[in-house]
Amino acid sequence: MDIARHWRGHPARYRLQGERNRNTGEVRVPPHPLALGETPDTWEPLKLSGRGEIYSFSVLRQVPEGYELFAPYPIALVRLEEGALITAQLTDCAEADLEIGMPVEMVTRQLVDTGADGVLVYGYKFRPVVQ
């Protein structure tokens, strides 16, 4: 069980806590380690809105172990309104519903159940906007 790894990812996975480069304005999620030449001031925390649109997508039919219950399921590159491009599973939608440019919103869902003696891993997915 990678409890520590999942735990470190909570802010980004649970609520899209990202960061913005104070010099260039670049936005990214999840936060990365600092690159050569950067200082702790280079990036500032930024909570992303969770709104965006589908940049591209595909449907997984042969899925990794632990994801069988969801199969087949779509994954997408989502262009967030802050500019970052993020890879995420789509939920609450059928393959026929999907199209490039479609507005989507972030929801926090179960990503995977690591077993009866393991943790439930939660994180962001995207779905068609409910309004």
Binding site: H10, R15, L69, D92, Q110, L120, Y122, V130, Q131
Partner: protein
């Protein structure tokens, strides 16, 4: 009961999963389609949904309506009988997902279908005593039911989040509350058992009806009001019939309970049921309207509340999806997909 500092709801939010199973589809499997069914359909959680994920969405809707930041919350409490972990609070996961400060009270409440209103009453006390300004009280369930049991037709999934705050910021003030509890074993689930047991007809007269009527009548007496003094009423809804029957006995009309009667479409969302009915009623209420709410939890108890809607509701209502938006996106699944998703298949 009234807190020394007046309180109310400054935000509210509901969540209903996208999936439904028709009660007739369940009857097709177990009774060859014969016999009456207690609702038209019930909501079913998607394979990636549980009490935690539904609570998060309902609470985000409540925060959006309130217009406050998650860091301002003093408590996040979740009432449910289907917490994903037996040991490990749902409240901490939901708090982290909302982005609260770690300096809050958080935890889980349990009282069958009234665990959420239990959290609401505690939230009133927390804000009413001045210990906190804002408390998120959530009722959420992915209710379990034995295959073929009467409960399988109704045990559904949904969540409602009520954000309690000072009355002067409220979209609806909570004017008074009453709680009535007795040791009445109409429905229970022993540790390590996957499905609950219930007393069949015993769940009606000595349990649901006696308990709700006791709490409701006492609150009316305390306030010196009658059912006709209220614009709307909401009662716990384990099926379509019980809330309509108890409303009639108490003297409330069909029109008063109509906006908050969700069970015919989505079944019994347990801890979310009465509170979701309140949310759906707030979706249509006008300033000055009064709402009478009585929850019910097996075991058994009821919490009754009287609320008055303020002007603030009008500008906050559209900041999050209405209950109708969640009801409208229904996708029906068959019994096989339902059985797969809710863990009723033995995988060996």
């Amino acid at each position: 009961m009234k807190p020394s500092r007046p309180v109310g709801l400054i935000g509210y939010g509901v969540y209903v999963p996208r999936y439904r199973i028709a009660a007739k589809e369940i009857a097709r499997i177990w009774t060859d389609g014969h016999g009456p069914v207690p609702v038209e359909a019930k909501s079913v959680p998607g394979p990636d949904e549980d009490t935690v994920t539904m609570s998060i969405e309902a609470a985000r809707n409540a925060l959006a309506r309130a217009g406050i930041r998650a860091e301002q919350l003093g408590a996040v409490w979740i009432g449910s009988e289907s917490h994903p972990y037996s040991v490990k609070p749902s409240g901490t996961i939901v708090s982290e997902a909302l982005g609260t400060s770690p300096w809050i009270s958080s935890g889980d409440w349990e009282f069958a279908c009234k665990a959420g209103s239990e959290a609401l009453t505690a939230g009133m006390a927390m804000v009413g005593s001045g210990m906190a300004d804002y408390v998120m009280a959530i009722g959420a369930d992915t209710a379990q039911s034995r295959p073929g049991d009467a409960l399988e037709y109704t045990a559904s999934a949904g969540a409602a989040a009520l954000l309690v705050g000072p009355a002067d910021q409220a979209l609806a003030t909570i004017d008074a509350t009453v709680s009535f509890v007795t040791d009445t074993p109409d429905f229970f689930r022993r540790a390590e058992r996957p499905y609950p047991s219930h007393g069949n007809r015993f769940t009606g007269e000595p349990a649901y009806f006696r308990t709700i009527q006791s709490a409701a009548k006492r609150l009316l007496d305390d306030l010196g009001r009658t059912p006709s003094d209220f614009t709307y009423a909401v009662f716990h809804q384990p099926n379509a019939k019980f809330p309509q029957a108890v409303a009639k006995r108490l003297g409330f009309s069909d029109a008063q309970i109509a906006p908050g009667l969700l069970s015919p479409q989505i079944g019994n969302t347990y801890s979310g049921a009465a509170l979701s009915g309140l949310c759906a009623t707030l979706d249509v209420a006008k300033p000055g309207d009064t709402i009478f709410v009585t929850s019910y939890g097996s075991g058994a108890g009821s919490d009754a509340y009287a609320l008055t809607v303020t002007e603030a509701l009008l500008e906050r209502r559209e900041r999050a999806p209405l209950a109708a938006a969640y009801l409208a996106r229904s996708v029906f699944i068959d019994y096989a997909v339902y059985a797969k998703w809710v863990g009723k298949l033995v995988m060996g």
